[in-house]
Symmetry: C2
Subunit: 411 residues, 2 copies
């Protein structure tokens, strides 16, 4: 990595270093949404930079309420914009030094969902998570289903209810069948959970019938976000056989506002777990395809300090994004710019790295203690869940900020 | 029903009678998509009618590539447009008589997907279909799963791959685990199927956290279409446990181009099957909520005559659309204009009314004969599947036209 030094003030532990420069959608007032790039504690207003004639992209693409139009320009241009801004933030004689209006403090803006999500897919790609779930709900001796090591198992999720970090979510009501009850009842979920995930955003369309190979998959990935796949375990349990999760998930999913480009994450690639048995040839891929991204989950009761309840890493994933995308399109299913594909819960081997309360409290059987002395098995009303993630290597840090959400009582 | 007589020539058996007037998107050339209304063998170009100052909606809403903007105006306006056009087509001194340019022959246009589908949901609401599947794959004595009579079971489908009638679809490739094989193989699906369904289009948004009651659900339904949920049974079988159908469905789903408004279908409401045990109160609804819509499926080998292989009726559905929508939103999941919710396979009690080849050929065990002497269990390359549907009562016919699609060899 070339060492880069920016003239913009960036705190040493900032996720938004000069090496990162993620894209997001911000607004200063209700009606004006624009494309910005995070640097330190500030945002570069890209429409203002374009208006100065310093970018090869017309400012029209930055005066948008989502990134879809900009991403749709293609990687050649979007990468160039990122590198051009990087150069402008490094250059001693940068023309931006005379244009302080280009910089806006992050604390002054509201962040929005960065993309218009056509379709949202959720995978189930952590072997530790799938094994833990299998142990709890099925056969502890035979926890993994027979298809799991052959297929990056996934399902279609609800796109309409994906919200940006900071959006509160009401505890869902739904049908639940309690143990030993003969009939279901309608009630507020009593086992509300989070799932620590990462999601990737599609950067290039395909047509129906077209297939993305593992070799080309990288061209179709624009960048990554943190993703919280809120889950109501009791609702999910009663509904999910045989057609999968539905209302146990669709009451809300949260994503972080800044999309970190796949190019910014390139230095943090690492090898993934060995895959046994060997995967089918359309799922084989060369080189390191996992990413060393440190993750943590904090839980804070109302007006109280946060307790970090999970410390995981994206590199644990058994199935990588390249494989997920090759699998998703192997039947000819088309993808569109802005589609989001989430990883599934990211759990590690260690109990401290479990990415859901289902695993942390082992199905509600093992309550755990919070800093304020209260205990939890699942999420209580007014609890706030915050997920953070960053990659770091040789003093270079590229991070995601956070995805945070508070659970409000049911309506 | 008031008897209406139009001065436009409408064949006696036309689906598009003066009582129907469905909305669709048509084009005469590649670049100009517009909103039209079907009458007999013609289309009323609504942008032209609006330009004449005869509608209360600005022609901007009719110069669109989807109906979303128009539907978003709300039922008060969209219903008024339909009734105003109806009046113009009945009126002896209609100003449209002097404007032949308003009418375009259906055979001269290309029809397009009528809505931009944000989310597509597929239900599983025919008790006969669910029972048949349960008999084949699970326990013949206990075919229905325990949740089925309590929940209108459904799952999120893939919105990007929903296409308009007339679009050919390639046979999907995918992972299949053959009987007695120890490992899966990658191959073209050998049990490609259709599912005879109807879908409804959402006409009014809700916000996240909001619930639609069975009482208000009707306000959120704009209209109905015919829907073919193409299914690759072998791919589906290997992938669907535990998270539901994925690549076995997402290679393509087809819908008819004309959206028949729920108001046009009002005269054809009938009672549904008795629901036992009693449903939870949020699923209870008053009055007749099923619709007597006669359905048929034709199958035609390449360059050969069609054989009608199924004759079913939408009135058989155990769960109605009102219940599906109330269930879908009971957890606070938001819906948007243009979302499509399909019924699931519409099978009746009689074998002749089975709505999928899985049932008709009983899992491939009972080949059936076609008019040309060939036999089928599942779909072969170049077979065309065409679904038709109409309601008829006292000489009044309101129909859907057709949804048709040809299966091409795998890529």
């Amino acid at each position: 990595m070339t060492t880069l030094k920016t003239w913009v003030s960036v705190p040493k532990d900032s996720d938004f270093s000069i090496y990162n420069l993620p894209y997001g959608i911000f607004s200063l007032d209700e009606n004006t949404l624009k494309v910005g790039m995070a640097i330190g504690k500030q945002i570069v207003d890209l429409s203002a930079v374009a208006d100065l004639g310093l970018l090869e992209v017309n400012s029209f693409y930055f005066r948008q309420s989502t990134l879809n139009e900009f991403i749709g320009l293609g990687k050649e241009l979007t990468n160039k914009v990122r590198l051009d801004v990087q150069r402008l933030l490094v250059l001693e004689n940068s023309p931006l030094k005379n244009h302080p209006e280009v910089f806006i403090a992050q604390r002054e803006v509201r962040m929005h969902l960065p993309v218009r999500i056509g379709d949202y897919t959720d995978f189930y790609s952590s072997i530790e998570h799938a094994t833990n779930v299998g142990k709890m709900y099925r056969d502890p001796e035979n926890a993994l289903l027979s298809n799991w090591r052959h297929i990056p198992v996934g399902y279609h999720g609800r796109a309409s209810s994906v919200v940006v970090s900071g959006t509160s979510i009401h505890r869902p009501m739904g049908q639940v069948k309690q143990k030993d009850a003969s009939e279901p009842t309608f009630k507020a979920s009593e086992s509300l959970d989070f799932e620590l995930e990462m999601g990737f955003v599609i950067g290039k369309n395909t047509k129906l019938g077209e297939r993305i190979s593992t070799k080309n998959a990288g061209e179709h990935i624009f960048g990554l976000v943190l993703f919280n796949d809120w889950s109501a375990r009791d609702i999910q349990k009663w509904e999910y056989v045989p057609l999968g999760p539905f209302l146990g998930k669709s009451f809300g999913s949260s994503m972080s506002p800044w999309i970190v480009t796949i190019e910014a994450l390139e230095p943090f690639k690492v090898s993934g777990p060995s895959q046994q048995p060997e995967v089918l040839s359309y799922l084989k891929c060369d080189g390191n395809q996992n990413y060393d991204i440190q993750l943590e989950v904090g839980m804070a009761p109302k007006d109280s300090n946060e307790t970090v309840i999970s410390t995981s890493n994206f590199k644990y994933m058994y199935w990588n994004m390249i494989q997920q995308l090759a699998h998703h399109t192997v039947n000819g299913c088309n993808v569109n710019v802005g589609d989001v594909m989430a990883s599934g819960t990211i759990s590690g081997k260690d109990e401290k790295s479990y990415g859901s309360l289902l695993e942390i409290s082992w199905g509600g059987k093992k309550p755990f203690e919070m800093k304020d002395g209260s205990t939890r098995t699942f999420i209580e009303d007014y609890d706030t869940i915050t997920m953070r993630g960053f990659a770091e290597k040789k003093g270079v840090r590229v991070g995601f900020g956070e995805v945070s959400g508070t659970i409000l009582p049911s309506v």
